[in-house]
C-alpha cells in the first residue's frame, strides 16, 4: 500500500510539472521562421502539395531514413527473437467461408488502395508509411481468413530488401545528381498538384511503402506462428 501511496504522490507531482509546463507555454498565433519557410517555399522548392510530405521526405528525409531503419530493426528483431520459437502449437480454428471469400475479394482492392495512398503522398494526406500499413492490413485479413496459409517469406524478404536498397539508392541519386543525400529533386519537379510531380517524392514514397508493407507483413507473419 505504501508503494501505491508513493506512486500516487509522484504522479501528482509529475502532473504538477506538466501543468506548469503547459500553463507557461504561450499560445501561438503565428508560425516560426522555419515552418513558415517550409510552407512558403515548400511547394516551389520540392514541388509537393502536401507540406507534411515535403517535410517528411525532403527536408527531414534523414529522419525518415532513420524511421525506415527503425521499422526494419523491429522486423529483424522480431525475426531474431522468434527464430528459436517452439513449434507445434495447437491449431487455431478455421475461419468462416464468408471471411475467406471476402478477404480474397478484398485483398487486391486493399493493395490498390495502399498503392494509391503512397503514390499520392505528395498530393493528399498519407504516404509511404500509411500506404504500407494498408497493404499489410490486406495480408492481415488473409492471415485471419486462412490461418493455415503460408506466405512466401523469401519473396517477402526480397521485396523488402530491394525496396530498401532502392530507397537508399534514390537518396544516393540525390547526393550525386542534386544537392545532397536524400534530395528528392534529382527528378524534374513538374507542376505541383499533378501525380507526376514533386521530383522523386512519389518514387521514394513507393519504395518506403513497399518496404514498410513487407516489413509489417513479416512482423505479423512471425507473430502469427505456424
Amino acid at each position: 500500500m505504501a508503494k501505491y501511496f508513493v506512486i500516487i504522490i509522484l504522479l501528482i507531482l509529475l502532473f504538477l510539472i506538466f501543468w506548469n509546463l503547459q500553463k507557461n507555454t504561450a499560445p501561438r498565433n503565428r508560425l516560426d521562421l522555419l515552418s513558415s519557410r517550409y510552407i512558403d517555399q515548400g511547394p516551389r522548392e520540392v514541388g509537393s502539395a502536401n507540406l507534411v510530405t515535403a517535410v517528411v521526405v525532403a527536408y527531414r528525409g534523414f529522419d525518415t531514413l532513420g524511421e525506415v531503419i527503425v521499422l526494419f530493426l523491429a522486423a529483424t528483431g522480431v525475426g531474431f527473437l522468434m527464430q528459436k520459437r517452439q513449434k507445434a502449437y495447437p491449431k487455431s480454428n478455421p475461419a468462416s467461408e464468408i471471411l475467406r471469400t471476402g478477404s480474397d475479394v478484398l485483398l487486391p482492392v486493399i493493395i490498390l488502395t495502399g498503392t494509391y495512398i503512397f503514390l499520392h503522398g505528395h498530393l493528399t494526406p498519407g504516404g509511404g508509411f500509411q500506404g504500407g500499413v494498408v497493404i499489410a492490413s490486406g495480408f492481415l485479413l488473409q492471415f485471419l481468413a486462412r490461418p493455415e496459409s503460408r506466405i512466401k517469406v523469401r519473396k517477402l524478404h526480397f521485396i523488402e530488401s530491394i525496396s530498401g536498397f532502392f530507397y537508399v539508392l534514390s537518396g544516393l541519386a540525390g547526393l550525386i545528381l542534386a544537392g545532397g543525400f536524400l534530395d528528392s529533386r534529382f527528378l524534374p519537379l513538374g507542376k505541383w498538384g499533378e501525380l507526376i510531380s514533386a521530383g522523386a517524392i512519389p518514387l521514394i514514397y513507393s519504395f518506403i511503402g513497399l518496404k514498410v508493407g513487407s516489413e509489417l507483413v513479416g512482423i505479423l507473419n512471425n507473430l502469427k506462428g505456424d
Binding site: S35, Y59, F72
Partner: protein, 1040 residues
C-alpha cells in the same frame, strides 16, 4: 576523404541486402559484414588526420538544403576521434562475437545497424534526429541482448525496454517543447537562441530532456536496469554497450551541454560524481564478476558526465586541450579497458569473482587483466593515470576541491574492489573452466596494446616524451619476456642492471639526491644477493624489483611533480605486486595497496593544490605563501602513510613480515626511505620561511616519536620473528621522522645518519631472519632456541646489529642516538627526548628477546640438525657488518658528507676536530668509544661463546602446569609470552585501537553499500518509478 554520409548509405544497404540475400551470400556474408565494418572504421580516420593537422570542422548537409532547414551532420575533431575508437571497438567486438553470428543473419544485421546508430548519435546536429538515432541503437540492442537466449537475457532486456521507453517519452516531450519555444530543432541554432528558452516552460522542457539523457547514461539512481543488462547479456554485447553506446550517449550529452542553465549543469555534475562514488561504493559488495564490471562501467561514465559538466560549463574554460585530454582520455581508457574486461569475462565459465582464478593458468591473459585493472584504477603507465593527474590539476585550478575529494574517494573505492578481486584471483583455489578462442583473444590483446600506445601519446602531450620514465617499464618487460632464464641468473642480471643504471645516474645527481641514490641503488643491489639463494624461475620477482629500483632513480631525477608522482605510483604498484606474489593471503597486500594509494591521492591533492596557486608543476616551487598549510598537511600526510606512522601503520606489519623473506629487507630497510625522501623534499621545497617555523613541525615530531615508542612497544609482544622486526622498523622510521621534524642542521644530519644505520642493521636482521626461517621452517620465536651452536655466524650478525639498533656504545647506533638527542635538546624538545629515550629502552627489550629466544636457551631436538644459514644470506649480512664497523670506527666518513649536504639548506652547527664530532652540547669521538667498549664487551662475549657448547640442565620440577595437560604445548615454553609483566604494565597501549578503527571504517563502508544497493530490487517497475522520482527530484532541485 570519404564523405561521412556514405556511412548512412553503405551500412543500411548492406543491412537491407543481407536480410534477403543471405541464402545466396553464404560465406560472403561474413566477408561483407567485416568489409562494411572496416569501411566504417576507415571513414573517420582521414578526417581525424585532416582535423589534427588543423583542418576545419566539416558539415554534411542532407536533402540539399542548408541547416536549420534540413538535418545536418558534423564531423569535427571530437566526432572523428570518437567515431574512430567506437568503430574500432565495433570491429573488435564483431570479431569477438563471430561465433555467435554463425548461422544467423539477424545478428550481423542488427549489429551493423547498431554501429550505424552510434555514429549517427555522434554526428547529428539535430535534436529530433538524435532521438531517432538513439532509438535505432536501443532497438537494435533490445534484440541483441537476447543473443544467448537465456531467461535472464529476456527479463533484463524487458527492464531495459521499460526504462529506455520512458526515457524516450521524456526526450520527446522535452524536444517538442524546446521546438515550440525556439522554433528550431537544430542543436546549434537552439543553443544560439537559448535566450528563448525561458521561464518555467523552458526549464521544464530542459529538465525532461536532461532526465532522458541521464537515464540513457545510466546514472544513479536510474540505472538498475543497466546493471541487469551488464549482468545478463552476453559479454560481447555488454562490451559494446559499456564501451560503445555509453560513449556515444556521453557525446550526445556533451553536445547538449551548452543548453543547460547553470543550476541544471551543477545538478548534472552532482549526479555524475555521486554516481561515480556510490557505484564504486556499492561495487564493494559485489561478488558477481559481470555485475561488478557493470557497477564500474556506470561509475566511469558518471565520472565523465560529472567532469564534463564541471569543467566545461559551470566554470570558465581554460586550457581546452587539457580538458579534452581528460574527457577523451577517460573515455578511451574506459572504453578499451572495460570492453577488454567484458571480453575476458566471456572466456570464463563461472560468474563469481573467484572463478577468474583460472586466469593464473594463462599468464598472458592474467597480465592483460592486471593491465586493464590498473588502467581503470588510474595507475601508470596507462591512459587513466594521465587523466587522473589532469583531473586533479584542473579541478584544483577551478577550486572544485569538494568534488575533487569525492572523485578521489571514488577512485580509492574502485581500486579496493578491483585489487581485492585481483588478489582473490591470485590467491584463491585454482578453478577450471575457460574457453579460449583465438577470435576472442585477438580483440583483447589489440585493445590492451592500443592502450599502451595511447598512454604514450598522452605522455607526449602532457609532459613531453621522457624516455627515462619509460625505461624501468621497458627493461622490466624485456626481462619478463625472457621467461626461461633461471632465477639465479636473473638475480645476477638484476644486480648488474641496477649498478649499471646507478653508474649512469650518479653523475646527474648531487647533494641530497646522491645520498638517496646510494641508499636506493648499491644497497638494494647488495640485498639482492640474498635472492641467489632461492631456486626456480621466480617469474615476476626480479622484473618488479628492477621496476621498483629504477623508478626510485626516476624519483630522484624528477623535475616536475608529475614525473615524481608517476614514479611514485609505479613504485607503489610494483611493490604491491611483489608483496602479493609472496603473501599467502591477499588482504595483506591489499591493505598495503589501499593505504599506499590513499597516501598517493593525498600527495596528488597536495601537488594539485600547489599547481592551483602557483600555476606550475615544477617541483622547486611548492605552494606560495597563502596556501602552504594545506599543501604541507596533504603532502606530509601522504608521505607519512608511506613511512607507516602511527594511526596509518596497520598496513605495515603484514606487508613487511608476510612478504617473501628476501624481499622483507628491501621493503623495510630501503623502500621505507622513500617516505623519508618525500618528507624531506616537502620540508625543503616548501620554502624556509614557512617550513622552518611552522607549528605543524611540532605535530610531525610528536607523530614521529609516538611512532617510535608504539612501534617498539608493539614489537616486544610479538611471537613472530618477522612481525617483531617489522614493528621495530616502524619504530625506527619514527625516530627519523622525529629528527626531520626538528628542522635543524643537527636534526637532519641525525635523520639521514639514522636512516643509513637503520638500513644496515635492519638489513642484517631481516636477512638473518630469512636464513633462520629457511633452515627452521618456522617464524615463531618460542619454537627456536639454542641456535647459537648451529648458526654462529647468524648469531654474530644479529648480535652486532642489535647493538647497532639499541643505540648503546660502541656501534654506530650510539652515534645516531647521540646526534638525535643533541638535536632534540638543542631545540628544547625535552618531552619528546624523554619519550624517545624511553622508546629506546623498550627497543632494548625486544633486542634482548631476539638473542635470548632464538640463539640462547635450550636447543630444540627437532632443530639439532640444522645447518648455518645459506651463504647467500650471509654475504650481504657481513658486508653490512663491515659497513657498520666502518662507520662506527670512522663516523666522519658518513656524517661529514651528510652534514655537508644539509649545510646547503641549513647553516651547520656541527664541526669536526679530527675524528671528534663537536656539537653545541658536547662531543663524540667514535674511535675512542669504540675501542674502550670493544674491550669491555669482547671479554664476556668470548666467555659466552666458549661456555655455550655445554648443555644446560633443567631442574626436575620446572613446569608451570602442575597437574594439567596444557592445551597448547608451546605455551609452556619460557620464550612464549616473554614479557608478561610488561604486558601488564603497558599492555593497554598496544590494544589494537587503530586496527579496530580501520576495520570499523571498512565495515561501515560495506554496510552502507549493502543498504544502498537495496534500491536495485530487480523489479522493472521499481526502476521505472526511480525515473519518475528522479524527474521530480531534478525539478525540485532546479527550483523552477
Amino acid at each position: 576523404m570519404v564523405e561521412p554520409i556514405y556511412l548512412f548509405i553503405i551500412l543500411p544497404v548492406a543491412a537491407f541486402l543481407m536480410g534477403s540475400l543471405h541464402q545466396h551470400l553464404n560465406r560472403w556474408q561474413v566477408f561483407i559484414f567485416f568489409t562494411v565494418l572496416l569501411f566504417s572504421f576507415y571513414l573517420p580516420i582521414p578526417w581525424l588526420i585532416h582535423l589534427l593537422k588543423g583542418g576545419s570542422t566539416a558539415q554534411v548537409f542532407t536533402a540539399g538544403f542548408l541547416p536549420p532547414i534540413s538535418i545536418n551532420l558534423q564531423i569535427g575533431i571530437e566526432e572523428a576521434f570518437l567515431m574512430t575508437i567506437i568503430n574500432l571497438l565495433g570491429i573488435m567486438g564483431a570479431f569477438y562475437l563471430l561465433h555467435h553470428f554463425r548461422g544467423t543473419v539477424y545478428g550481423p544485421i542488427l549489429y551493423l545497424v547498431f554501429i550505424m546508430g552510434l555514429n549517427g548519435i555522434i554526428m547529428t546536429r539535430d535534436l529530433f534526429n538524435l532521438f531517432v538515432f538513439m532509438e535505432i541503437t536501443s532497438i537494435s540492442l533490445y534484440s541483441l541482448i537476447t543473443l544467448s537466449g537465456s531467461s535472464e537475457n529476456l527479463t533484463a532486456g524487458f527492464k531495459y525496454i521499460i526504462a529506455s521507453g520512458i526515457a524516450s517519452i521524456l526526450f520527446l516531450i522535452g524536444t517538442i517543447y524546446l521546438y515550440y519555444l525556439t522554433g528550431t530543432l537544430n542543436i546549434d541554432v537552439m543553443i544560439a537562441s537559448g535566450y528563448k528558452i525561458v521561464g518555467p516552460a523552458g526549464s521544464i522542457a530542459l529538465i525532461m530532456l536532461l532526465s532522458a539523457i541521464i537515464v540513457e547514461l545510466k546514472q544513479f539512481p536510474v540505472n538498475g536496469w543497466a546493471l541487469d543488462i551488464y549482468t545478463a547479456s552476453d559479454p560481447g554485447i555488454a562490451a559494446i554497450i559499456a564501451g560503445g553506446s555509453s560513449s556515444a550517449m556521453f557525446f550526445a550529452a556533451y553536445k547538449l551541454l551548452p543548453l543547460w542553465s547553470p543550476s541544471l549543469s551543477s545538478i548534472i555534475a552532482g549526479i555524475g560524481i555521486m554516481t561515480y562514488v556510490l557505484m564504486n561504493l556499492m561495487g564493494l559488495k559485489q561478488v558477481k564478476a559481470n555485475r561488478l564490471l557493470g557497477y564500474s562501467s556506470i561509475a566511469q561514465i558518471g565520472l565523465l558526465v560529472g567532469l564534463s559538466a564541471l569543467l566545461l560549463h559551470s566554470t570558465p574554460v581554460t586550457g581546452l586541450t587539457t580538458i579534452w585530454i581528460i574527457l577523451g582520455g577517460l573515455l578511451i581508457n574506459h572504453l578499451l579497458a572495460k570492453a577488454g574486461l567484458f571480453w575476458i569475462s566471456g572466456l570464463i565459465k563461472g560468474e563469481s569473482l573467484s572463478s577468474w582464478s583460472v586466469l593464473r593458468k594463462y599468464p598472458s591473459l592474467l597480465f592483460i587483466f592486471a593491465c586493464l585493472l590498473m588502467a581503470l584504477a588510474g595507475l601508470p603507465p596507462f591512459p587513466g593515470f594521465w587523466v587522473k593527474w589532469n583531473i586533479a590539476m584542473q579541478l584544483a585550478q577551478h577550486k572544485q576541491f569538494l568534488w575533487l575529494g569525492f572523485i578521489m574517494l571514488g577512485t580509492l573505492l574502485e581500486a579496493v574492489y578491483f585489487f581485492r578481486w585481483f588478489g582473490l584471483i591470485m590467491k584463491s583455489e585454482l578453478t577450471t573452466g575457460i574457453r579460449v578462442r583465438i577470435s576472442s583473444l585477438l580483440p583483447i590483446f589489440t585493445g590492451t596494446f592500443l592502450m599502451f600506445f595511447i598512454s604514450l601519446t598522452m605522455m607526449n602531450l602532457l609532459s613531453g616524451f621522457n624516455f627515462n620514465m619509460l625505461l624501468p617499464i621497458l627493461i622490466a618487460t624485456l626481462i619478463f619476456a625472457l621467461k626461461l632464464i633461471p632465477g639465479k641468473l636473473k638475480a645476477l642480471m638484476t644486480i648488474f642492471i641496477i649498478m649499471f643504471y646507478f653508474y649512469f645516474l650518479l653523475p646527474e645527481l648531487s647533494g641530497l639526491y646522491r645520498l638517496f641514490a646510494i641508499i636506493f641503488f648499491p644497497l638494494s643491489a647488495l640485498f639482492m644477493i640474498a635472492a641467489m639463494n632461492k631456486p626456480g624461475y621466480r617469474n615476476g620477482y626480479f622484473e618488479l624489483l628492477i621496476l621498483i629500483v629504477l623508478s626510485l632513480g626516476n624519483l630522484l631525477t624528477s623535475h616536475t611533480s608529475l614525473q615524481f608522482f608517476y614514479s611514485w605510483e609505479v613504485i607503489t604498484v610494483a611493490t604491491y605486486l611483489i608483496i602479493l606474489r609472496g603473501v599467502k593471503r591477499f588482504d595483506t597486500a591489499l591493505l598495503y595497496l589501499v593505504f599506499s594509494l590513499a597516501g598517493a591521492l593525498m600527495i596528488l591533492a597536495g601537488f594539485s593544490y600547489s599547481y592551483a596557486v602557483t600555476g606550475s608543476t615544477f617541483l622547486g616551487i611548492l605552494g606560495s605563501s597563502n596556501s602552504q598549510i594545506t599543501i604541507y598537511i596533504l603532502l606530509v600526510g601522504g608521505f607519512l602513510i608511506k613511512t607507516g606512522a602511527v594511526g596509518v601503520h596497520i598496513w605495515l606489519p603484514g606487508a613487511y613480515a608476510e612478504t617473501e623473506d628476501d624481499f622483507s629487507p628491501i621493503i623495510s630497510a630501503i623502500l621505507s626511505k622513500t617516505g623519508i625522501l618525500g618528507l624531506l623534499l616537502v620540508l625543503l621545497l616548501m620554502g624556509k620561511s614557512f617550513a622552518a617555523n611552522t607549528e605543524l613541525n611540532t605535530i610531525l615530531g610528536w607523530i614521529g616519536v609516538l611512532t617510535a615508542f608504539l612501534g617498539a612497544l608493539f614489537a616486544i609482544f610479538q611471537e613472530d620473528l618477522k612481525y617483531m622486526l617489522a614493528y621495530s622498523s616502524m619504530g625506527q622510521v619514527g625516530y627519523i621522522v622525529l629528527a626531520l621534524a626538528l628542522y635543524s642542521h643537527l636534526g637532519w644530519t641525525a635523520a639521514l645518519y639514522l636512516a643509513f644505520n637503520h638500513i644496515f642493521f635492519k638489513g642484517i636482521l631481516f636477512l638473518a631472519a630469512a636464513g633462520i626461517i629457511q633452515r627452521l621452517g618456522t617464524r615463531k620465536m618460542y619454537e627456536m632456541g639454542g641456535l647459537i651452536n648451529r648458526m654462529p655466524l647468524s648469531f654474530l650478525a644479529v648480535l652486532i646489529s642489535i647493538i647497532a639498533l639499541s643505540g648503546v656504545p660502541p656501534l654506530s647506533g650510539f652515534g645516531s642516538k647521540w646526534l638525535l638527542y643533541n638535536a632534540l635538546l638543542e631545540k628544547e624538545w625535552y618531552l619528546q627526548a624523554a619519550l624517545a629515550f624511553f622508546a629506546s629502552t623498550v627497543a632494548f627489550l625486544y633486542c634482548f628477546r631476539l638473542i635470548h629466544s632464538i640463539f640462547l636457551g635450550q636447543e630444540k631436538t627437532r632443530f639439532r640438525q640444522v645447518k648455518e644459514a645459506s651463504l647467500w644470506f650471509l654475504i650481504p649480512q657481513y658486508v653490512l657488518i663491515a659497513l657498520i664497523m666502518l662507520i662506527s670506527l670512522f663516523p666522519n666518513i658518513i656524517i661529514e658528507p651528510i652534514a655537508q649536504v644539509m649545510a646547503d639548506f641549513i647553516p651547520a652547527t656541527l664541526s669536526w676536530e679530527g675524528n671528534t664530532l663537536m656539537s653545541s652540547l658536547g662531543y663524540w669521538n667514535g674511535n675512542v668509544i669504540m675501542i674502550i667498549t670493544m674491550g669491555v664487551f669482547m671479554i664476556p662475549l668470548i666467555g659466552l661463546l666458549l661456555r655455550v657448547r655445554s648443555m644446560q640442565k633443567v631442574k626436575q620440577f620446572n613446569i608451570v602446569y602442575a597437574a594439567e595437560r596444557p592445551d597448547k604445548p608451546e605455551t609452556t615454553h619460557v620464550a612464549h609470552n616473554f614479557f608478561p609483566h610488561y604486558q601488564k604494565a603497558l599492555g593497554f597501549l598496544v590494544t589494537p585501537l587503530v586496527s579496530k578503527f580501520w576495520a570499523a571504517v571498512s565495515e561501515w563502508c560495506h554496510t552502507i553499500a549493502g543498504v544502498l544497493r537495496n534500491i536495485y530490487t530487480g523489479n522493472g517497475q521499481t526502476y521505472a518509478l526511480h525515473i519518475v522520482f528522479m524527474v521530480v527530484l531534478i525539478y525540485i532541485l532546479a527550483g523552477v
